[in-house]
């Protein structure tokens, strides 16, 4: 028996009222937790979908460049020691960073120049599965290459070469079949010929070489700089660049979903807290008699304040715990109903469960501060009127 006995017994005295209050606040907590879980999953799914619209990190070999002019003749920028990146070890290194779970796609590329029918054109070797993973917006008038001897032409390159789907073309001494032409993308892809990476590596006798690697990383939950610095640690002799404008655009979309959820949660929280506050205020008025008895027994204002806060806090802790569990479970149903999960699932965490209990306990205590202060301020003489 101690001071906790008083609020605990009082809560048990009016089970229907307590249950109603618990239900209201638990529903509030449940909505907040469900919204949080849904926003996290939706944010993750959204970001994952956005990664299919292009990479946000580019890894290329470290190069030295120099502006050269001699005798008034400008030779432009000269690059020294352009080295290729070894495909296997570089991809493995990227996949081995601490934040490897944030790496959504890794797309290596090899770039070279060739002349076809005396027209200079850029050849880009790609891993089709990885490339299509980050360029879901690509569309073709034919089909994407499925065989090693098939190539895909950019819209402008096809027009320049006068080739279309089904045509055969000889590149660096080997014959390839044009499987299709990319519909205009408005990017550099319009001007190049795309083919399998292994084929290009073989054609130019650079087995296992890549010119650069594009990475699509999920940035919610950790800044892109962390991912970039971890890749830099793994690949010290490379240049790792984050495409900040792409990152920012994507995060704006993800943050919009999360901010929306946060705003709704705040409204729910304020409403639920106001209800707890009002309920405690009415409880204080109802319990003037109890306060009078306690004051006559020497309970100070601090004791009365503490008892009322404890009562609210207990309801908050219970609601927080109950609300977290029901919110977590209901988020599955919400995602299933809205078909938004896209493979991701809400995450249960004991730490979050405890945190919910503590945080909502504190919030109810805050909501009960005014009623508690009012209750504590009741003079024994005023409380005696109720006796």
């Amino acid at each position: 028996m101690n001071i906790l006995t008083i609020p605990i017994r009082n809560i048990r005295r009016k089970p229907s009222k307590t249950m109603l209050l618990l239900l209201v606040f638990s529903l509030g907590v449940m909505s907040i937790v469900a919204l949080y879980q849904v926003s996290q999953v939706v944010g993750y799914s959204l970001e994952k979908k956005l990664t299919t619209f292009g990479a946000n990190i580019v890894i290329s070999p470290a190069t030295e460049k120099l502006s050269v002019s001699y005798g008034g003749f400008q030779m432009g920028e000269m690059f020294f020691e352009i080295q290729d990146l070894p495909e296997e070890t570089t991809v493995q290194a990227i996949r081995a960073i601490k934040l490897q779970d944030r790496i959504s796609a890794v797309a290596p590329k090899l770039v070279t120049m060739a002349k076809i029918n005396d027209i200079a054109v850029a050849l880009v070797g790609v891993r089709w599965q990885d490339e299509l993973g980050i360029k879901s917006y690509w569309a073709t008038d034919g089909s994407f290459p499925e065989q090693a001897d098939q190539i895909l032409l950019g819209k402008k390159a096809a027009a320049q070469l006068g080739l279309s789907a089904g045509a055969k073309v000889s590149i660096l001494g080997k014959e390839f079949l044009v499987s299709g032409t990319l519909l205009e993308t408005g990017t550099d892809d319009d001007t190049v010929i795309l083919m399998g990476l292994t084929e290009l590596q073989t054609l130019i006798n650079k087995p296992g070489a890549t010119s650069f690697i594009e990475v699509a990383a999920l940035c919610s939950g950790c800044p892109i700089e962390d991912i970039v610095s971890q890749i830099r640690e793994q690949l010290p002799n490379t240049e790792v660049k984050a495409l900040q404008n792409i990152v920012n655009q994507r995060m704006a979309s993800v943050h919009f979903v999360q901010k929306l959820a946060l705003s709704i949660s705040l409204v729910i929280l304020v409403t639920a807290s106001a209800m707890v506050g009002l309920s405690m205020l009415s409880a204080v008025n109802e319990r003037k008699k109890d306060i009078g008895i306690l004051r006559s027994l020497g309970y100070g204002k601090g004791n009365i304040f503490f008892i009322i806060c404890l009562e609210a806090g207990l309801i908050g802790v219970l609601s927080g715990t109950l609300g977290y569990l029901t919110g977590y479970l209901s988020s599955f149903k919400v995602l299933e109903y809205l078909s938004l999960a896209d493979g991701a699932t809400p995450q249960f965490s004991f730490a979050h469960l405890l945190l919910a209990g503590v945080v909502f306990g504190l919030i109810t205590v805050l909501a009960a501060l005014y009623p508690s202060w009012k209750g504590a301020g009741i003079e024994p003489s005023a409380a005696l009127v109720a006796l």
């Binding site: 006995t5 017994r9 003079e379 003489s381």
Partner: protein, 221 residues
């Protein structure tokens, strides 16, 4: 031990100040059993509440031992109510959601520290004394009025109070039960406790050592 001089108290009733105590002086000696009698509305309950520090007087002097009760801080007043003073009321004097034992131990439940074993043992002894040990786990609602009053007396016993203020302790009880309560109060007085009791029943007032009659906010004898 307890001295009140020229005590006045007005109450605001519908915006009008109504004088309830108009200059009452009273002394309660250590171990004395005093009855305050008077008609309804005469001010006897207000006087008891002033003496027990539950109501602050507007004017006059109020002393308990060396303490000037009018200037005592809130915390010192609380200490006084915790240790020296006990009050029992005519109605609803127990917390309905606590058991009989918990109600008896209520004065010791002010902190997160569990109530000491000695206090629990003493509470059992006191409940035994008032004949309620077998009902220690019951809630007040399941007890009769007399039994509830005895729990309040047991609570005063557990505290080892020096002064017991009783506001019409037999007012809501039948004659037989009222007599039992009076026997208990008399016994406590004989053991050295000062008792100040408000009553409107002359036969119970006669059992005390001194009767103070209040009429229209003034002490008439």
């Amino acid at each position: 031990m307890l001295t009140a001089k020229n005590i006045t108290k007005d109450f605001d009733i519908s915006g009008k100040m109504v004088p309830v105590l108009k200059g009452i002086s009273l002394t309660v000696a250590e171990g004395e059993f005093v009855a305050i009698v008077g008609r309804s509305g005469s001010g006897k309950t207000t006087l008891l509440n002033v003496l027990s520090t539950l109501v602050k007087p507007d004017n006059g002097d109020l002393h308990y031992l060396e303490n000037d009760l009018r200037t005592l801080s809130d915390s010192r007043l609380n200490k006084l109510r915790q240790a020296d003073f006990s009050v029992i009321f005519q109605f609803h004097h127990l917390l309905p959601y606590l058991t009989v034992l918990e109600n008896a131990l209520l004065p010791f439940m002010r902190s997160m520290k569990p109530v000491k074993k000695e206090a629990v043992n003493k509470a059992w002894q006191c409940l035994d004394r008032v004949g309620l040990a077998d009902k220690a786990d019951r809630l007040p609602g399941s007890l009769s009025g007399g039994e509830q009053q005895r729990v309040a007396i047991a609570r005063a016993l557990v505290k080892s109070s020096k002064v017991l203020f009783a506001d019409e302790p037999t007012g809501s009880l039948d004659k037989g039960t009222g007599e039992q309560i009076m026997e208990l109060l008399s016994a406590l007085h004989k053991e050295g406790m000062s008792v100040v009791m408000v009553t409107h029943e002359p036969e119970y007032a006669r059992l005390t050592q001194r009767t103070v009659v209040i009429e229209d906010g003034l002490m008439v004898c």
